[in-house]
Symmetry: C3
Subunit: 417 residues, 3 copies
């Protein structure tokens, strides 16, 4: 390894960290666009705070829980201590991570990933969950739950030993976020007015679809770093193949969702296409480095087709998820993880079995952790704002402000004078 | 070529592909901002689908039509077959493209370019064209028309032999999109209410100018990859000069449009300044690697000055283009291509003649292809929505949804209870 | 230095320039979101023009004023002539800047910085300043004032000799912008309706908080280049440490502002959290390369805590700053510069004294320059729009257009027919 190649590899992982960072803006605008106007400040507040809490807790303990190095309890849990503890020689940088990047680079890239799973939850619980309670849950989720299951694979734990494969986190990030979302949605119940007394579904359309569209494009943009950076070097063939499979899967996801939703609903549903793009991206994430372009298209297309079915499935069960996070991240995260056993370089029954074990184990742990901690919070302080607060909107009831001002304050003030 | 330099070169082209991707978000927000509120979903839907269709068709046939390699019919057309057909040795990567980047990198960078020309059309036909018909045309345009004329120059075809110069696509991308837009605008006719019976022009202002401004900044940001990546390596002097000329031309374009529109209309017209920036960017694109900073400023300034004149020119002829795509991409694309013969390293009569031939040939082919295919579609199924649909807006009539929700659904639902 | 390492270093500074460019979109959306609806076009117009004017004036004279090379008058002022004057051998690139980047790269990276300080002013003077007068001031500020004080440190002038430390510009960029903003706010006076006759403060809420939130995320994103690029090479350890300290300070700034404003106002104030993130970023900028992660958290947290106190402080003095630019950029710029003497590798009394001298000298010069030139403009032509114009809003009175259209023009036109 020359200094020059080391510098390039490191630079790419840093650029990837910046790209994954911009995914947080993508999530913020996507979720803000899909909620009602009266809850816009609330969702933006959550998304701002989650990135920040995620980075700080990952510094405080997450990183050392996810990458404990040395001894772990049977590959299930380990902890290298609070704060950052740079291994000897890592400051010299080329002694760390096969000389591909520095200890600081490793931390910041992983830290940017960590917060994404909590952000996924924030969309699903939007418009009805108490802000402070959500922030407590998100902190626990990102500080404890995500790093533990993350270690099982990326920290060299028992699933890694088993042969479970998850390139950039269809399971470790997306379905983890999705399981947390599902637990929260079950415990919270649906938004007022979403389901009528006689069981009908009343769609609650998002208040600003251009914001949601901006979110999807920014998420795709960030995914260049999410998947491309997961090569863990700037290896030319590796990163470029991942760019191709990622983009083709996203494109095929849009087409899949378009076709399926057009057949189902006879309309050009932009929400479905937007979620179809995300579905394709989540779907390819587990095996983006293993697939041919053609296989990526198939995986993405199927992920896109899944979306309208999954949205209807959850809606029928009164699992009210304002942004479709469970469909995109949980269902397509599972699909993408399974696809590694069905397509591409690793396809085969043994891989498929490993994938199923990984999906089940991480799903069980995450769902149990989320359901348990949310249940305790529900009993202790309640998860949900009051009916009055929900009707007024969380912006006014939790933040005493509105996202948009139509009345011109100074005109008003002057008129009063 | 060392492995290290190869890795850096490849990385830059990949980063450029990501930057060109974000231009699609730029186009989406620019066009959404400049249309009426009632057609917002429709334009976002188009822009989402075009990126995806563009990537998939470029995979299916566009790339092999644009870069057929080997034998072509006199440099006019060639085809290396459907799907991606990696040349022997290219997987080893350094045997491909002079060791600057891999086959996958080449594909994804070029694929990101391909969809931009169809996106240019979508702005011009906004607010009145049938969605499905547009998608059919866009597919044909990006799968067939763009790659064929692209091959003439970048695929080593007859214009390349002739000495025609187009660094990053003032003609091959922007004026191609502009010719398609012009053909469509002619066949579609203006929006209802744009021109009164006695021939007066009634401006139809865009519904959300902050969205349009976001679009212009994102397009500029993406242009770092569009022009910078067209160096086809990370060559330090080459890329940095292109960054300088690109930015100075954009800045001068804003000033040119500002001054010209201030003199013409006596107001500070933000739309003109925004389009002036784009004009400067389109104008410098053909020769961004050949110009000194001072020459870049002159080219950009003139491009900016052109904008208000061009907008008025088209408007007087009742060629109704809601976002000014023909002025920005067609007129300034031609200007930028000519400028290569007037300024910079290649200036001179022989170059100017080559430029004129290239502009005319590509313009004639693209306009004929677009006009012909749109005319057939018009005869077969009609290009335009009904008058009722246009008045109601395409969001409701084609998508059954609205871009913005002011009424709070759950409040409403609860009030009804 | 190998060609390969040189190419990578150069590429990173170019990427950083692109990232700093996107900060201008961040400022544009942040400021647009925080002003009233009726002044949206005006603030976007300013922000578009400032980037362009900044680039062109930096080309025309700023760069050679900031980096005069050779002889200067006692390290206080020097000028290498109008336009760009490439030093001999610099075209060969590796003879320039220790072989880390080319002359063009140096120019474009520095040019992107230059415009940011004028943009900071634009937010503070929003909603009441005459557009043309602002553009004249901004041109003087960015062409003359910023490069002169910039030279004192980054151009190797007297503050550099003295040992003053400012890694990426807490003082040279942010507090310079802040001093300009303060001078303008004093001379302009508050917006109509902001303070009642009996001295009460009437908050004028921003019209579109999602836009403001987008701005903050984009600024953070751009800061990867602002601070990361200030390493002036792609050095792996250097850039990665700066990424870590920058992000942790931003995160801690959000938490600091959250906690302090929650205690002070008992509400979850999103504006405070957004400005807290920016405060953390500004605070770490002077010493991002000197701090440990833990120290970065402390610096960022304190910067965040400062925000609500500072906002209240200025408001009580009727210094009306619609976007909080003085609190974020001036106060936290000073804090960050002082922090270099209090924390990290350079901490100590001698450093603290140098920091104080630098803060005072640059502050005095910039404030005097700004106050003086604005005072002359005030006497000559007036700074402020008329009361009628301010009440109507600058969009209508200066631009004859509105940022948003709720009425559908074509419907209206058709109804009239």
């Amino acid at each position: 390894m020359t200094e020059s190649l080391f510098t390039t590899n490191n630079l790419w992982i840093l650029m990837s960290a910046a790209l994954v960072f911009i995914m947080h803006l993508g999530f913020a605008t996507l979720e803000a666009g899909f909620v009602q106007k009266k809850n816009t400040i609330n969702i933006l507040f959550k998304n701002c705070m989650i990135v920040c809490i995620g980075l700080l807790t990952y510094y405080a303990m997450g990183f050392n829980l996810m990458y404990p190095g040395g001894e772990t309890a049977g590959g299930f849990i380990g902890f290298a201590g609070f704060g950052l503890t740079m291994p000897e020689g890592a400051a010299g940088a080329m002694e760390y991570a096969d000389g591909n990047y520095t200890y600081w680079t490793d931390f910041i890239f992983q830290a940017m990933f960590a917060a994404t799973c909590a952000t996924i939850v924030s969309g699903a619980v939007a418009e009805r969950m108490k802000l402070n309670v959500f922030l407590v849950f998100a902190t626990l989720f990102v500080a404890i739950s995500y790093p533990i299951t993350g270690m099982w694979k990326w920290g060299g734990g028992w699933l890694d030993e088993l042969g479970f494969y998850d390139f950039a986190g269809s399971t470790l990030v997306h379905s983890v976020g999705g399981w947390g979302a599902l637990a929260a949605v079950i415990l919270l119940g649906p938004r007022l007015g979403k389901y009528t007394d006689d069981g009908k579904i009343k769609p609650i359309p998002g208040h600003n679809i251009p914001l949601a569209a901006i979110g999807v494009f920014l998420l795709w943009f960030g995914w260049f770093g999410f998947n491309g950076g997961s090569v863990l070097s700037a290896d030319a063939v590796g990163v470029s193949l991942v760019f191709v499979t990622t983009c083709l899967a996203a494109a095929a996801g849009a087409v899949g969702a378009f076709v399926a939703s057009y057949i189902m609903f006879k309309s050009h549903d932009l929400s479905m296409v937007l979620n179809g793009i995300l579905a394709g991206l989540v779907g390819i994430t587990a095996g983006a480095d293993l697939m041919s372009p053609g296989e990526a298209i198939i995986i993405g297309f199927i992920a896109g087709v899944i979306i309208p079915f999954s949205v209807v499935f959850f809606d029928k069960r009164k699992l009210d998820d304002p942004v479709g996070a469970t469909s995109v991240h949980l269902v397509c995260g599972i699909w993408g993880t399974l696809a590694v056993g069905l397509f591409g370089a690793n396809a085969g029954i043994p891989q498929l079995i490993s994938q199923l074990i990984g999906i089940a184990a991480i799903g069980a742990f995450t769902f149990a952790f989320s359901f348990g901690s949310l249940y305790l919070l529900k009993v202790a302080v309640g998860l949900r704002v009051t009916k009055e607060q929900e009707i007024k909107g969380l912006d006014v009831s939790e933040h005493e402000m509105s996202a948009y001002q139509d009345i011109e304050q100074s005109n008003y003030a002057l008129a009063v004078e």
